[in-house]
């Protein structure tokens, strides 16, 4: 794959001095550092997830203050979101921005500062939560505010660096990936600020901000970064342009307008104003436009290339990611309907949903991107066995995970609707929690294999083909 480097874009870099080999090495080391630390966070976060899953069946397992469920749970979610996924996607964003612009990194130093800020924030946040310093159990903003400010500083530095990088491009046009990447970082800065400022968030007012924030933190950060990366990694891997550039632009703007309005669907039937809830439902339906438009674009880019798909694990990861995107997001639309929310809201179904989207979409796409692009940066490839094991354990594990919680959560909701004693809903879902643990264990094992693959791509023996980190032809990818 590394030897393929045909132009995948409509425009071609002209004239300017091309980035040097040294620039390629710098970019590779940045990409490696973000990916390696992200992988460590993935291992940590999912190990915590396993402990949590086990506690559902054995509540007296891992007792005591520091390992109690309510402290580990936000550690799991925050380490996953801000340790693993954010770091991995920022690492990919740097690579994609630099390569698709045919330029070099605006500032390596800023990239290192960002890396340190993100990691220091994630470590400090984890320690704080474990010691009981939880900023209000408000989902995905549980870290005490000074720590979230550190993370925000990391975002700002990253945004600056990415804008500077795109500003150095040699072409007039800006490739679509960079719209999503630059947009995503800027939007994340905005919603983080909205979430941190405390002076207008009291009581019910804070409920509305929570609804806004917890959905935007996912959909205006992980989604755009993942999509931006896919718009580069998929054409690159297939050596063919994206099916429709215009459709990608359309999905960009519709996503931007529809997504920020749907947060209140986390609080249907709550005392939040009726108009806020209904707006959220209406735009949850409207979200089908960018979701189906975006995923159709990816699938149509892959059309007729099923044979390549079967022979390329990066493509298979991306394919699952795209399917996760369309299925998970469509499910989200349905969950926003009052009639269905009556059954599913507050049940474990929502935990299945969050794993279908964060895992089925973001994780698989991220892995596909790392497997497609990291070898290009380092010239080192993972082994076929490692790829096979990672892919299949992750696919089967997450499938079991999502299916078992979807069924179990539905049973919980029906139990409540039928007015059974509450404890009956705890009893009835037990066996599904066991299956969730089985799925989760497979997922965790796959992450260990992934870590091994990352090690091989970063520090393992070089592949036969020479690294193409800074090949001039690759600059054409813009």
């Amino acid at each position: 794959m590394a030897s393929e480097d045909r132009a995948v874009q409509t425009t071609v870099a002209v004239g300017h001095s091309n980035p040097s080999e040294e620039d390629g090495r710098v970019l590779a080391s940045v990409f490696v550092a973000y990916t390696v630390t992200a992988t460590l966070w993935l291992l940590f976060a999912t190990a915590v997830g396993i402990v949590l899953a086990y506690k559902f069946g054995a509540p007296d397992f891992a007792p005591g203050e520091l390992l109690t469920f309510g402290r580990l749970r936000p550690i799991h979610t925050n380490a996953t979101l801000f340790g693993w996924a954010s770091l991995a996607l920022v690492g990919l964003a740097y690579y994609v921005a630099v390569r698709s612009c045919g330029t070099r990194l605006y500032s390596a130093r800023l990239a290192w500062i960002g890396l340190i800020l993100f990691n220091v924030a994630a470590v400090a946040g984890t320690v704080a939560l474990d010691l009981g310093y939880n900023a209000g159990s408000l989902e995905y903003r549980e870290w005490p505010w000074p720590i979230r400010l550190l993370f925000l500083a990391g975002l700002a530095v990253t945004g600056w660096n990415l804008i500077g990088t795109v500003g150095r491009r040699h072409t007039e046009d800006i490739y679509l990936s960079n719209w999503y990447i630059v947009g995503g970082v800027l939007w994340a800065c905005i919603f983080s600020l909205v979430a941190i400022v405390p002076w207008y968030q009291y009581g019910l007012g804070q409920v509305s901000v929570s609804g806004y924030y917890m959905h935007n933190a996912v959909g205006m950060w992980f989604t755009p970064l993942t999509l931006g990366m896919l718009y580069y990694a998929l054409p690159k891997t297939l050596s063919r342009p994206i099916y429709s550039y215009a459709l990608g632009v359309f999905a960009f703007w519709t996503n931007l307008v529809f997504y920020p309005t749907i947060g209140a669907h986390h609080f249907l039937f709550s005392p939040l104003p009726w108009w806020l809830q209904t707006t959220a439902i209406v735009f949850s339906v409207a979200m089908l436009v960018p979701v189906w438009g975006g995923s159709a674009n990816f699938l149509l880019t892959m059309r007729g290339r099923l044979r390549d798909l079967a022979h390329s694990y990066p493509l298979m990861f991306i394919f699952v990611g795209v399917i996760g995107y369309v299925v998970g997001s469509t499910q989200g639309t349905f969950e926003a309907f009052r009639s269905l929310q009556e059954v599913w809201h507050l049940t474990n179904f929502t935990v299945g949903h969050s794993h279908l989207t964060m895992y089925g979409f973001v994780n698989f796409a991220t892995w596909g991107g790392i497997y497609a692009l990291l070898p290009l940066a380092t010239g080192k490839s993972p082994g076929q066995l490692g790829l096979t094991m990672h892919f299949w354990m992750a696919v089967v594990g997450s499938f079991i995970y999502v299916i078992s919680l979807s069924i179990g959560g539905t049973i919980q909701g029906l139990d409540w609707m039928h007015g059974l004693p509450f404890i009956q809903s705890v009893v009835d879902i037990q066996s599904y929690w066991v299956w969730r643990g089985v799925g989760g264990a497979l997922m965790f094992l796959s992450h260990i294999v992934f870590a091994w693959n990352v090690w091989r791509m970063c520090f393992g023996p070089s592949a036969k083909a020479a690294p193409l980190a800074a090949g001039p032809a690759e600059a054409a990818a813009a």
């Binding site: 506690k55 069946g57 509540p59 007296d60 007792p63 005591g64 109690t68 469920f69 309510g70 402290r71 939880n134 209000g136 159990s137 408000l138 500003g167 719209w179 630059v182 947009g183 800027l186 939007w187 905005i190 207008y200 968030q201 009291y202 009581g203 019910l204 007012g205 804070q206 409920v207 509305s208 901000v209 806004y212 960009f252 307008v257 920020p260 209140a264 986390h266 609080f267 039937f269 709550s270 005392p271 939040l272 104003p273 009726w274 806020l276 809830q277 009556e342 507050l346 049940t347 929502t350 935990v351 609707m417 039928h418 007015g419 059974l420 004693p421 509450f422 404890i423 009956q424 705890v426």
Partner: protein
Amino acid sequence: MNKLVLIAGGSALVYATLALLMGVLPGIELSQTPPGPGVEPLTPLQAEGRDVYVANGCSYCHTQQVRPLPGDKIFGRASAPGDFAYQTPELLGSERTGPDLTNVGVRQPSTVWQYIHLYNPRAVVPESIMPAFDWMFQVVDQAPAGAAPVPLPKAYAPARGVVVPSHQAEALVGYLLSLKQPPVPDTGSNDIAAPAASRASAAGSSTTAATAPAAGAPGAGSDGADLAKGQALFTANCAACHQGNGEGLPGAFPSLKGNDAVNDADPTEQLHPVLYGLQGASVGGVVYSSPMPPFGGTLSDADVANIANYERSSWGNHGKPVTAAQVAAERAKGK
């Protein structure tokens, strides 16, 4: 460069506008929501308990929002905007792995029960999967003067010494018992869904707790009373203290097995506490300090009769069946 300004700046501007409209402005507006009638700020100890609740992530499993849906009625009336005036950080929660706690101070007012349950939830609810918070308690040789040890069942008590709550546990339980919904006049404006459901809830006739009989439960009794329904209602409302086997917890909650009131042909002593609550009861010569909450407001006469008959025919009890009419008569007598 212009294009970059357009895409980055333009999309950031659009997003900032939407963030303002959907996040900031509703936040500012709704933060001014005045407290509803009877909604009071927390005392310092209760506020401290709320911090303990937050620090240990209780709200990841327990919601504090009652929706205007039939299935939520067991947790209290539908939450109103004014209920949250003093609730910062908000603790509405997104998952209900455990029951909603909006009204737990009314549903489970016994301090003793809360301590036992906190120390190890399985001591009172065998099927519970809540973590044990035993680290909020101390094991001492002898309870200090003025403090009662937590009356744990033998299987859960430490081998030596007695268990007393730490300050943390006292604050937490103080907070939990403060969670009581004040009655609210029909607000109307925020009646977001199922107006029929909220009307029914306002009418106060809750028979939903047992529309589906538990599997394998005994069928209808000889006089038409529904024992399966009674069992489900007992599980939902009574078993946390009196336990599924009816034996209660020695020293904490009285046994209903062989209980005089339950076997007496005159049901007054059985029905009155169910309808109107009880404090300082003396059963079999033992005085129980824990208050029993009144159920007259949430259970219909037929529900109470079903529970009473389930108790009268279970665990070796042989009480004469009671009718809904008898419950109504008892209710009419008043407190």
